[in-house]
Every structure is written in C-alpha cells, then in structure tokens.
Symmetry: C2
Subunit: 343 residues, 2 copies
C-alpha cells in the first residue's frame, strides 16, 4: 500500500517535532517541510536530509543564505495527500483556502479557532469522528492534557463536572521575549478561561470550568483537576485506569519525581531528544478520592504533547487506521511513547 504523502507547513516548535515523527512512521512519507526563515533551524533541517520548501516570495532569501530549497509551498502541495499546518496560531486559517484549492487534507493546531476544521480532535476521545474528514484540528497542549485524563477517567465513571486550574509555563525554552520573569499572571483574568470551551469542542456535553495563571518557568504546564463523578469509584480503580491508558505516565513522588524539573531530568536521563515528554504525566500521590470527588495534578510538556495526536490525525483523515487503538499502537511504538508508572 502506498505511503501517505505528508507536508508540514511551519517548522517551529510543533512543526519540527511532527516532521521528525512522520519520518518514523512506516505508513507515511515526509515529502517536505515549509519554513519562512533562512536560519540555523533551516540549515540544520537540510543537513538532516529533510526536504525544505518555503513561500514563493522567500525563495531568494534562502538562496542568499546558501540554504537549498526544493521549491515553494505550492510546489509541495502538488505532491502530498495531507498537510500538517504548524504555522503560528491564527495563521493557519489564512492557508486553508490554498490547501483546499490543491485538494489536500489539512491538520490544524489548537492555536486556530475550532471553525477552521470539520472536527476538533483528541485520539483517546473522538478518533472515529475524524475518519475521512477533510480537515481536523488537534487541540492545544493544555486541552490535550485535560482530554487525555478526562477521557481516561470516563472509561470507568460518568463525569458530572470538572473544575480545573492550569498553571501555565511563561515561555518555551528558546523564547527570550516572553514573561513573566517574576510574577504570577492570571491569564485570562476574567473567569472562566477559554480552555474549558476548547475541551467542549471535543466533549460538548461535559460540564467543565477552567481557570489559568502564567508563571515564570519554561519546562511544563501543571494542571490541578477537581472532578465530580456520578458514582463513587475507588482510588485503586482510578489509578489502574490511568495506568492502563496509553500516553499517560504516573509519577511517584516518593521516588523523587517531585516537580516538573524532575520529570524533565528523567526525560534527559532517558536520552530523549530535546527532553520531550509527549506523555501526560499524572502525579500518583496526588490522586485523591473524597466521596464522589476525585482530584489530581498533572504535568503537560507544551512542546511535544500534541505530536502523537498529529500523527494519529493524519491516519484518521486518510482512514489509514480504523480505530484509536490501531493508530496508537503504531504511533506509540515508533515514537517510544510510554504508559504506566515511571520509572
């Protein structure tokens, strides 16, 4: 069977990771990536053997820097079945008409509004809804984190409501113009936050309210989740469910995994490229049950958590895997994504 021919438009934090993940898929071919800036990242991509394209009005800029490009975005779209749009938030919708003109299916990111695509997507929650669609939106890192644990918990309990607070990282490690450096920023200050609305794009009937603050760190987000269940469920059953769910890792603080810094140190010790943690990490110790209430704390690696969902979304629109289980098996094996307790 022919491999799915994929383009990645945008080669920033998400784009470069998704491109590298595509290279590892047995059923996909990375035809090319589109980059707008002729910088060190572009040079490194070329030297890594990744076919580089750019916008037609940027071709000269790349030639001036002696960075070889294969052609324009349009040239690339001629050759592919699917494009993963990893352009900056809000820019993806500008490209949508172009993708449609070339008859290319499109995967958008959570920085776009839900209307950009036919379906907002998380593999564990609604894989089947994305099958054969022309466009799919992989929700943001925070929403992906919330959906992984919520849809895992949904396997054993009907969830009455969720009240969650997101403690967000200020910037990614490479960013030097974002803050805060020394403050806590309610963001948004007007409650509730939009993150709950984003969860509802995938789980429209869930009663969920979210709040968020930004804090001076670069490593990961942390979520504090309060959930009320329709029925009482034991802590043991909840732990077992999280433990058995793909892409969820349980961190044991008694083994020293006491902060986002420890999680990142563990990923570094594993030798993971860029210390990426595409798994959602839930602190085992934090899982507590009080009557019908459950609470837990979880950590989200903002740079990499959506990578596996992007790969799954490609298979969904191409109907290359019929079920979530099937795509998860391939994606997680090829990307080395773990589940269960760490280490």
């Amino acid at each position: 069977m022919a491999r799915i021919r994929v383009a990645v438009n945008g080669f920033g934090t998400i784009g470069k990771r998704v491109a590298e993940a595509i290279l590892k898929q047995p059923d996909m071919e990375l035809v090319g990536v589109v980059k707008t800036k002729p910088d060190y990242v572009a040079k490194h991509a070329v030297s890594s053997g990744i076919p580089l394209y750019t916008l037609s009005d940027r071709l000269d800029a790349f030639r001036e820097k002696n960075i070889p490009v294969e052609g324009s975005l349009e040239d690339l779209l001629e050759k592919v079945d699917v494009v993963v749009d990893a352009t900056p938030g809000g820019v993806g919708k500008e490209y949508k008409p172009l993708y449609e003109r070339f008859g290319v299916k499109a995967i958008f990111q959570g920085g776009e509004k839900p209307e950009v695509a036919e379906v907002s997507f998380n593999t564990l929650c609604n894989y089947e809804e994305a099958l054969g669609k022309r466009s799919v939106r992989v929700v943001s890192c925070n929403t992906t984190g919330l959906l992984r644990s919520i849809c895992s918990l949904s396997r054993i309990a009907k969830i009455k409501k969720v009240r969650a607070t997101m403690v967000r990282r200020a910037s990614d490690p490479k960013e030097v113009k974002r803050g805060p450096v020394n403050a806590i920023v309610p963001n948004p200050v007007k409650l509730p936050s939009h993150h709950a609305l984003d969860v509802k794009t995938v789980l429209p009937t869930l009663d969920i309210v979210t709040t968020a603050v930004v804090v001076p760190t670069t490593l990961m987000h942390v979520h504090i989740v309060f959930a009320e269940l329709e029925d009482q469920v034991s802590r043991e059953d909840i732990v077992a469910t999280f433990e058995q769910t793909p892409r969820i890792l349980l961190a044991d603080a008694s083994l020293g995994l006491t902060s986002t810094a420890d999680l990142v140190e563990y990923a570094r010790d594993l030798g993971r490229k860029r210390y990426d943690i595409p798994e959602l990490v839930i602190w085992l110790d934090s899982i507590a049950v009080l009557g019908r209430e459950v609470m837990w704390m979880q950590a989200v690696h903002q740079e990499s958590i959506v990578v596996p969902e992007n790969i799954d979304a490609i298979r969904a629109v191409m109907e290359a895997a019929k079920s979530a289980e099937e795509t998860i098996r391939i994606t997680d094996e090829t990307l080395g994504i773990m589940h269960g307790r760490i280490p």
Copy 2:
C-alpha cells in the same frame, strides 16, 4: 489607660513588620524586640530606636559586633504584657513554657501547630473567640488570605464548600537558598493540602479542600477559589461585599492591574515601605458566578498580610478592643490599610 507593653521575639520577615506596626499603635508600647543574629538588620533596628534584646547566650556575639543590646529575652519578658512570637516556624512552641513562666500572653504565628495556642485566629472570622485568651495563633499568610475572602462572602451566603488551589511564591525577595528557579512543584504532592486543615482551625465546620503548587516568583501568592453556595447570590452582591470588607482590595485588570507584578508596582508607587500589601487583593474581573458556584482569583502578599491580624490579636488577648470592628478601625487607620477598589 496604660498602654499594652509588647515584646516581639524574632525580628525576621514578620517580626520586623509587626514591631514597626506596634510602634504606630496609640494603645501599645514596643518594649523591645529579640534578635539572635548580630547582623545589618540588628544594627538598623538599633539606629531606628528600637530597643534590642537577644538570647542570654548571644549577648557576647552582639557586643563583639558593637551592637548595643538592652538585655536578654528573660529581661524583656519581665517588662511586658504580651509577646508576639515571630521565631521561625516550629520554634515558637519551644518558647511557650518560658512565656508562661513569666505570665506573659503570647501571640504565635501560623508556622506553629494549632495546639500551640488556645485559639487560631483571623480578625474577620473569630475575633471574639480570642478575647482574654492566654495564647492565640495567627494563621499563616495563605490561610489568612483564604479566611478573609471566605468570611467576607459568609456575610451574604452560606458556603456549602470551597475547593481552592494555591499558586505559591518560591521564596521571599531576600532569600537566596530557596527555589524553584525554573519548575512548578506540587507542594504537597499528596492531595489535599494541609491549608484546608488550617482554615478549619478557625472555621471547623467548613467543607474545604485545597491544593498547592510552588512556582518561581518572589512577589505574592495567588489563589484560585471555587466556592459553592447554599443559595444563589448575584455577582453584584458578591462584588459589593468584597468591596465593603476591610482589608480586601479589588483590582481592576482593565486599569492594568493584570499580575502580581502590577500590584507590587502600585504599592511602590504609593510609596509603601518595602512595597507591603497587607490587604488581600481580589481581581474584580475574575469574580464569576455560575448558578450557585462562585469563583475568583486573589493575591496574597506573604510578607505582610498577617501584620494587622497580629496587632488585633494583641488587643484581643488584652481585651483592649471588644469587637473586630473596633480593633480593625484602629489598626487599619494607623497602618494605612485600605479597602474597596484600587486605585
């Protein structure tokens, strides 16, 4: 009427602020403060006219540094009615027998266990319970912040339950050995956190659960509070209640008060000593009502929020003010503590 003679044992973050606040009270006399280290803070206290005492085995250390001291802790306890214990957390209980031996009433801080004192205390919640007691414990900064808003809200609604998350500052500005520098630390990682238990030392029947993380900032803590009420109350009534409550300030993000850094900048612009903010600050924009649920975000200046409560506690044990209103009027006027909207 004779002024209340007060000693302050410990001259760190809380001790120095309480001592300075005592100097401003018309009905109190600061007889002396006790400091263990002959450092710049001690020299500055002496040059500010604050009578300095130390532990009997530290007298030589002060003489060696040419810092004049009036005598020992025991010498000081001979001369006072009340001692404010502002020693490091857990140390206060070691001094308790000494205070008792000298027949001196004692105000302890929230770093001590509740058992250290006859009553745990917040002026807005339970002033009358502390009247005439031999020992009172002013709860911690986080607990004081929670109690201020909860007891304010209690004036207009019966509170069914509270679920709150505390985003805590990593260190005070002067500390150089605490962290995290770049991480989010669930603390405690085992849920729920002890802060709810501390609230219950003042409001024993409240259904409250808390969680907490520590983040890399020095300025203030931020709390995200979800409360369920027995009855529906309008947002306007809640805003009006917070607005009328002493020691609560409402910050308007549309005027640029969007983070803890903005709150501190405002305190600096006010010319406040050390940029202290003994008021609890609630973000006006964050107050939201959904059915019988209320949520809001609030900021707590960890270094100064308990100062007015310490002053009130002195009056309570001496029965120098019969009601919360009476002591609040004096304390807040002398210390310049505001309420209502800022700026």
